[in-house]
């Protein structure tokens, strides 16, 4: 049934895989109705999918340098789009985004615009040119374009800082999901998560990560969409995305009816609300008034967009396509696959909010008596693990909107239960969350270890190393970095490691302008690049320490808070790279010729297949 090579058969292979997964879901549903416990179904979902990824990882093993670093540059456009989408959508996107919209409303949705709009920058300014360059890693481009080890080293520094900020949160998420689904302690869950991640990446590098990410995308998108469509149809909306206008307006009415009250911090503290739990105090669809609110929205969107275009684990996915043309198309497909999840998240938030707020629905809890709400099984389950909390501030025994506290993640994880869907859906959601967190962690760990092994070990320390030695170093680094991330995650230090948004700000501070000007401005030279990368990174980091709530906690300047420090970093980076380049000698003729060649979409890559 499979004629021709692996690449020709991809649609068939993944078609079969998708069919197999759907059969598996059906099988689980049958087992549930036959009386198999919810816990065993959860274990089977996570264990089965992780074993499949590990199998794909094993089958993709390789001893070729270009297969290990860039999947042999033969990943077809659409499949690279799916892999990028899985690489991109982290545990945070899958588990936390709908929760963010749930509590933040319109204001939070700046993240949606930012995390999609950035791909326009990737496709117009960077991806096709970096593909033409033929580099293995992002610092490989910086190092070759600007010449010398210093720019390469500086770019590596930014890459490691940005990616590592991001990866511990992902390993933490795999640990959380593994521990809940497999019913093991969190510390053990983190290491189970790490082993799963390494199984997917160690033997085959980028090639293995690519093919597991495609498989993970399929699982995560099915797991995200099924509950939404199911819940939508229960409420009488066959295609919720286009039919929730009335529901959004209804939420605005309900907000007016219940009132959006802000709780005093002292009240929250004295009531003993567990950390990280939130309550609804922002309007769902109304735009907050005032110029500052507009600036906060726009500045967050800008940071996320520019950060997207600078994150190495995303850019390196476009090194794997066969040509410049397919790199461009692949960006479009990536965004399409990301869009499928992102435009569903607000609908999930809307449906889920309505379920608990609308007194006409049987699932409503707001406005009911607290004694009654505390008897509901899902409330009891989640209250037991301190994920939801009720504080009767006004002492009237009725649950008000500002008295209901919940962790954002619960929106995705508990919605199937709240809406009364069968447990098989909760198991599916756990498998989806695991897929999302694992695929991003894979991409990040690989980005860091590839960069250290190629740019630091091979290009700077030992340029004479043979292929075998290079790949051994790459794999050892992969394990070491993964273990370091898991160790930090298992110490539960993530709360002081900062937000996922920081990764975007670090990347944008140090890499955006050096990358873009490397292609679009021939005059940019070595000294300018070094000043731009290090200066931007230093300025951004200094500003983060100045405003960061866990550091000096000073009043942000113009509303640029710790989520937006990349604005400061990238402006400093732009000014430095332009001024220093103009003050020093223009790049030599060979470099200028190289930039000219990068701009021509056809012909040979600048760096050869083996370098």
């Amino acid at each position: 049934m499979f004629k021709g090579g692996f690449i020709q058969n991809l649609p068939k292979i993944y078609g079969l895989y998708t069919g197999g997964f759907i059969v598996f879901i059906g099988l689980m549903a049958i087992m549930e109705s036959a009386g198999v416990s919810a816990a065993s179904i959860g274990i089977m979902f996570v264990a089965f999918t992780v074993c499949i990824y590990a199998l794909i990882g094993y089958l993709s093993r390789t001893i070729q340098v270009d297969a290990y670093y860039v999947a042999g540059r033969q990943v077809p456009t659409v499949f690279n789009g799916m892999a990028t989408a899985a690489d991109w959508m982290s545990g945070a996107s899958f588990v936390a985004m709908a929760g963010g919209i749930y509590f933040g409303g319109y204001t939070y949705m700046a993240f949606l615009v930012g995390w999609t709009g950035g791909y326009v920058l990737v496709s117009t300014l960077l991806a096709p040119y970096l593909r033409k360059f033929g580099c293995y890693t992002v610092p490989d481009f910086i190092g070759t374009r600007y010449g010398g080890n210093l720019p390469r080293f500086a770019a590596t520094l930014v890459l490691v800082l940005a990616s590592f900020t991001y990866v511990t949160a992902q390993i933490n998420a795999t640990g959380t999901i593994a521990s809940r689904a497999l019913q093991i302690p969190f510390e053990l869950g983190v290491w189970v998560g790490l082993i799963s991640i390494l199984l997917c990446s160690m033997l085959g590098g980028m090639r293995a990560v690519t093919w597991t990410q495609v498989a993970q995308y399929i699982v995560l998108i099915i797991a995200y969409l099924i509950p939404i469509f199911w819940m939508g149809s229960k409420l009488g909306n066959v295609f919720p995305h286009f039919m929730l206008g009335d529901e959004v307006q209804r939420l605005a009415e309900l907000e007016a009816q219940f009132g959006l009250t802000k709780n005093a911090a002292a009240d929250i503290k004295s009531a003993g609300v567990p950390g990280g739990l939130k309550y609804i105090s922002n309007p769902h669809s109304a735009v907050p008034a005032g110029g500052m609110a507009v600036w906060k929205y726009l500045s967050l969107a800008i940071c996320m967009m520019v950060g997207t275009a600078s994150l190495p684990h995303i850019l390196m996915r476009y090194f794997t396509t066969p040509s410049v043309k397919s790199a461009r198309k692949s960006v479009a497909w990536s965004l399409f696959f990301i869009f499928l999840l992102y435009f569903s998240a607000p609908m999930l938030a809307t449906l889920s909010k309505l379920q608990i707020m609308d007194p006409n629905l049987p699932t409503a809890i707001i406005g009911k008596s607290i004694a009654e709400v505390e008897m509901i099984p899902w409330v009891q389950n989640w209250a037991a693990v301190k994920q939801v909390f009720i504080a009767d501030f006004n002492g009237d025994g009725i649950l008000q909107l500002n008295e209901w506290f919940m962790r954002g993640d619960v929106v995705v994880l508990a919605t199937p239960e709240v809406a009364g869907l069968p447990y098989v859906i909760s198991g599916l959601v756990a498998a989806g969350g695991m897929a999302a967190a694992m695929s991003t962690a894979d991409g990040l760990v690989l980005a860091i270890s590839n960069c250290l092994s190629h740019d630091i070990y091979y290009k700077i320390i030992d340029p004479k190393a043979d292929v075998r030695k290079r790949l051994i170093v790459a794999r050892v680094l992969l394990v070491v970095i993964g273990a370091l991330g898991a160790y930090i995650a298992s110490m539960r230090l993530t709360s002081i490691l900062g937000a996922v948004a920081w990764a975007f700000d670090f990347a944008m501070s140090g890499l955006f302008f050096p990358l873009v000007l490397g292609v679009w401005w021939k005059r940019a030279n070595t000294a300018g690049a070094v000043a731009g990368i290090l200066g931007g990174l230093a300025a951004g980091t200094a500003y983060l320490i100045y405003v960061g709530p866990k550091f000096m906690a000073q009043t942000p300047w113009l509303g640029i808070d710790h989520l937006r420090f990349g604005i400061v970093g990238s402006i400093v980076s732009l000014v430095l790279i332009v001024v220093v380049s103009l003050m020093t000698k223009e790049p030599n003729a060979a470099t200028q010729k190289m930039v000219d060649d990068v701009r021509v979409p056809s012909g040979r890559a600048i760096l050869g297949k083996q370098h």
């Binding site: 791909y119 995305h241 206008g245 726009l298 066969p322 198309k329 960006v331 869009f339």
Partner: protein, 86 residues
């Protein structure tokens, strides 16, 4: 002007047009968020809709359009080679 320069000129213009459209959907609409929200689309307030779906969809369409048009520019100048030889 050589073929190479003409191609680069067109590529640059195409990039600028694409980024102008991007700027409209990512920045301009939300600059006037409260005014835009007065209008409605499919029953959703418009600024909410754009932030939840509209701008996102616009970006998807925009990148496909960008890639297709850039391919035409490449073909016109003889740079449309399918596969790299590296």
């Amino acid at each position: 002007m050589s073929n190479k320069d003409a191609h680069w000129q067109k590529t640059k213009n195409h990039m600028i047009v694409t980024l102008a459209i991007w700027f409209f959907f990512s920045i301009v609409i939300f600059m006037f968020g409260s005014a835009v929200n007065q209008a409605s689309f499919l029953g959703y307030p418009l600024a909410y809709y754009m932030s939840a779906q509209g701008s996102l969809a616009a970006f998807v369409v925009l990148i496909f359009w960008f890639a297709n048009k850039q391919e035409k520019i490449d073909d016109e100048h003889g740079y449309g080679g399918e596969r790299e030889d590296d």
